[in-house]
Symmetry: C2
Subunit: 182 residues, 2 copies
DNA sequence: ATTGATTGTCAACAGTTGTTGGCCTACAGT
DNA sequence: ACTGTAGGCCAACAACTGTTGACAATCAAT
């Protein structure tokens, strides 16, 4: 067949995202990604240069915290939890980052960057407390990454079994406290 | 040199733990482990049979939650946090599990097992609420794994910078709530 | 119809991986 | 001194990895 280069590129990209999310950086081989995309491995190299660069392209994304801009202050905790849970389920993005961030230094760096650049400023704006925003953001990241880890990666049965509402019920007050305490 | 087989075996084991903790399952190669232990890669195979079995041996450990047996009920949260933090820092055990559990299915299974077998029963005993113990244990695991992830693996600067006391200050009430709420 | 560029295929490379079998060396019991 | 056993080392294997270069097929513009 014959496609435009941008088509093929995006086919490769989504295959790469799935593989990275499912297998992590090392086990997601270029050959397996190419096989999923039904494409020659050499094409992956042609369009992305190297595995590192392919990964960099696959791990780019936006957590869209701007959606929380006009939530009443006392409901921020629940809103944050719901927003995060949907981000976990929407795309493979967060799963890619978590699976790879643990063995790949570049991915860990990317993760730090995303949370520092996207979450901390939002929290500074929402709480009007810029001084403590990085710590609050870090605590919230830790809690939400922990839940994602338990639910989507390690698959702890009780966490998998919980509904979104139950999770909000448990986590909402925690996040609310991390946002406002002290 | 010449050693007893049990000596060499334990030398290999501790080298393996370090490598698995630092690099994860895939990147911790038998050759690199053998090099650390200053022995021939073939010896690893002789004594452990395969990489899988070496890993199984390296990932065996005890979270020692029994140490929390006689903590006053209202201080359980802080005690849990302190205990966990020390477990993270004491040996490489938790880091091994987390680094590998994310790419290796066997390790994920082992992790579920450890938390279900060691944490949940303890919580059932401590709270006198066996029905909700698995959920509470899972929530606590998620929070503490999240912190370990942010502090020791992803190295989020604000989390790395916090002292043990600060972490207890933030996390203690959360864990206390997961233990007693509802 | 002939170009030139773009998309795709194929085969091979050099390096690394887990794993294996043969061989050497030290030691204990005779 | 001789021998059996157990610890240690070396070289090689087959499979797999990322990556590369040469070559074929397809299209658009002249």
């Amino acid at each position: 067949m014959r496609r435009t280069s941008t088509e093929t590129k995006s086919i490769i990209l989504s295959a790469a995202r799935e593989r990275f999310a499912a297998d992590g950086y090392e086990r997601a081989t270029i050959r397996s990604i190419a096989a999923d995309a039904q494409i020659d491995p050499a094409m992956v190299m042609r369009y992305f240069g190297s595995k590192e660069k392919l990964f960099a392209a696959a791990a780019e994304f936006d957590l869209r915290f701007d959606a929380l801009a006009d939530v009443p202050r006392d409901q921020l905790g629940s809103a944050f939890v719901r927003h995060f849970l949907r981000q976990w389920e929407a795309g493979e993005a967060l799963q890619v980052l978590l699976r790879t961030g643990i063995t790949n230094d570049g991915a860990a760096e990317r993760m730090r960057e995303i949370f520092a650049r996207q979450l901390a400023p939002r929290i500074a704006a929402l709480t009007g407390d810029p001084a403590n925003a990085p710590v609050r953001a870090a605590m919230i990241s830790a809690q939400m990454l922990g839940i994602g880890l338990a639910r989507y990666i390690l698959r702890f049965p009780p966490v998998v079994a919980m509904s979104e509402d139950e999770l909000v019920h448990w986590l909402g007050p925690t996040i609310q406290r991390y946002l406002t305490a002290d």
